[in-house]
Amino acid sequence: MSPTATESPSSADQLASRKHTPIERVQHILHRNPALSPLLVLVLAVIVFGIVADNFLRPEALSLMVQQMAVVGALAVGQTLIILTAGVDLSIGMAMVLASLVMAKLNADQGVPGFIALLIGIVVAILTGLLNGILVTRINLPPFIVTLGTFSIFTAISLLYAQGQTVTLDPDAFLLVTGKTISIGSVSVTWGVLLMLLLYLVVGFALSYTAWGRHLYATGDDAEASDLAGIDTKRVRLSAYVVAGIAVGIAAWIVCGRVGGADPNAGLNYNLLSITAVVIGGTSLFGGRGLVVGTLIGALIVQVFQSGLALAGVDPNYQVLATGILVILAVSVDQWIRRVKA
């Protein structure tokens, strides 16, 4: 700090005050806006597929894509909450299948009115979340193991309950409302899509603007520091699983509308697709970092790749390949962003 030091700054001072390199600036921007890199990927993918596949940008094709991603989109909201707490839910797809079977079977076999059947189905979905949450927070088991176990349990209960049969509902049933479309010109949207978007709005609001959301981020970020700061981290984590259960219930309603009933064998792909959407959407698997908007974009990316490759006439196996590459890329970008420096 001598006067001469200010006249001729040392090399260390020069290093300290140097401008960020362009790459570091990108890193900083991505660090501040976790949904930005998935958005770029989505825009790029839409442009590329728009050029490669003639039908891709037609309103009908785009509408169908959004309808197809509604179930994964709704499930991924719940998955985002759990991953934000540094957990993971491998059972989420099977929980949805179980809830949708309860809804459809109560309505079709027992003659329970559609609305009541829906509510009971949502309660079942919340109970699956509560079970996972209690096992994780009260018995202190790792979320991976808990949900691996409940995945099998929910699968078995679903198959036993449905006796391996799919349930078909009357086309006019209340439960199938989510599959009905509203058309504006050649753009058609199902009620299920609107329901999914509403779910994103509500959960996104809660995460960004409420004390609960702040505590959820803090808990996933550093559970011990949050505990010491006075946050009841066990309760916060339990609440994430319970709210995820509500998302599962809504996803179950949407899936009823999509398949016209309930199918006990439908859940396998949804487990991993929901995690894929969250991870591609820029939410960190280590918790505490991410946005539901990113998850929505992530779910859209997965769908755009699947539909785009299909419309381009590529072997369906390449769709799976592309999804895999995207996941690894997304996690690599996340790791890089986390190493951000001042």
């Binding site: 949050s226 700061a229 946050i231």
Partner: protein, 290 residues
């Protein structure tokens, strides 16, 4: 262990930060009662003695350092004071009122804030959010009480005011994520948080352990600022120069018991180390400092 009531601090410097209890009739009542007083704290871990009847008195507007070798019971003592551990025996008083802490939250409600060495902050959250973590300002009315909506603007505003108030110049952008800060800046955020909620006592567990020289100086300056605002500060540290530079009194732990309380004015670092290791004891005259 002599009882706390029998001893009086004979503060030689008689500064404003050192309560002068000899002139009971003339001193103001604010400096009379210890803000935090522990008497006869005992903590056993099975048959291992953690604390063997330790007395601590902390007055408003002073920095009390706690030093001691590894295993001397520093951490156990601090945990008992901050509610992280429940002592088997002994009493705690805050402002002369008996208290019992069953959890850290109880201590916090009573005005005792603790900063832990490593686990101070949530890295991905910004500075304002960290200052208000678990004590967020909510919006007025329905939005705040039922929806638990945050008043982000108010938190940012108060946070930057508080930071400016403490004379902290190293934190420029209140929206900056804590993980982009240096270790010293993070620790400053953690220490600043303790002063933000009308607390009376701040306990700092090795706040400078991982910091460089300049960062250490910044944190210690902040510690003195908190003291000058009338807070009682307990500083646990291994760093003797830091302790002697910052503390008004020094409580020395040895083998689970208190080896005495000394003043940096009357004792040297060599004295402190000698007492810490058992090579010397605190003289009768100095013992009254307790």
């Amino acid at each position: 262990m002599s009882t706390a009531a029998a001893s009086e601090p004979t503060s030689s410097d008689a500064s404003a930060t050192q309560p002068d209890r000899s002139g009971r009739a003339t001193t103001t009542s604010a400096t009379e009662t210890p803000v935090l007083e522990a008497t006869g704290l005992v903590k056993m871990f099975g048959r291992v003695v953690g604390l063997r009847g330790v007395d601590v008195r902390l007055f408003p507007g002073e920095v009390l350092a706690v030093i001691g070798d590894n295993g001397a019971g520093k951490s156990t003592l601090i945990k008992c004071l901050s509610g992280a551990m429940i002592p088997d025996e002994g009493t705690l008083k805050v402002d002369g009122q008996d208290v019992r802490f069953r959890a850290t939250q109880d201590a916090r409600v009573a005005g005792i804030e603790t900063v832990y060495q490593t686990l101070a902050v949530a890295p991905a959250l910004d500075i304002a959010s960290n200052l208000y973590l678990a004590r967020e300002i909510r919006r007025p009315g329905f939005a705040g009480s039922v929806l638990r909506m945050l008043d982000t603007k108010a938190m940012r505003k108060h946070a930057s005011e508080h930071i400016a108030d403490l004379g902290i110049t190293t934190l420029q952008n209140i929206d900056q994520a804590v993980e982009t800060l240096s270790g010293g800046q993070r620790q400053i955020v953690a220490v600043a948080r303790t002063g933000a909620f009308g607390s009376k006592v701040v306990i700092l567990d090795e706040p400078t352990a991982a910091l460089g020289v300049r960062e250490t100086a910044q944190v210690l300056r902040l510690v003195r600022d908190l003291r000058d605002r009338g807070l009682g500060v307990i500083l646990i540290s291994h760093n003797m120069p830091n302790v002697f530079e910052t503390a008004d009194r020094i409580h020395i732990q040895r083998l689970g018991g208190s080896a005495g309380v000394i003043s940096p004015k009357t004792h040297t670092m060599q004295d402190a180390v000698a007492i810490m290791t058992g090579a010397a004891t605190v003289d009768e005259q100095d013992q009254t400092l307790r």
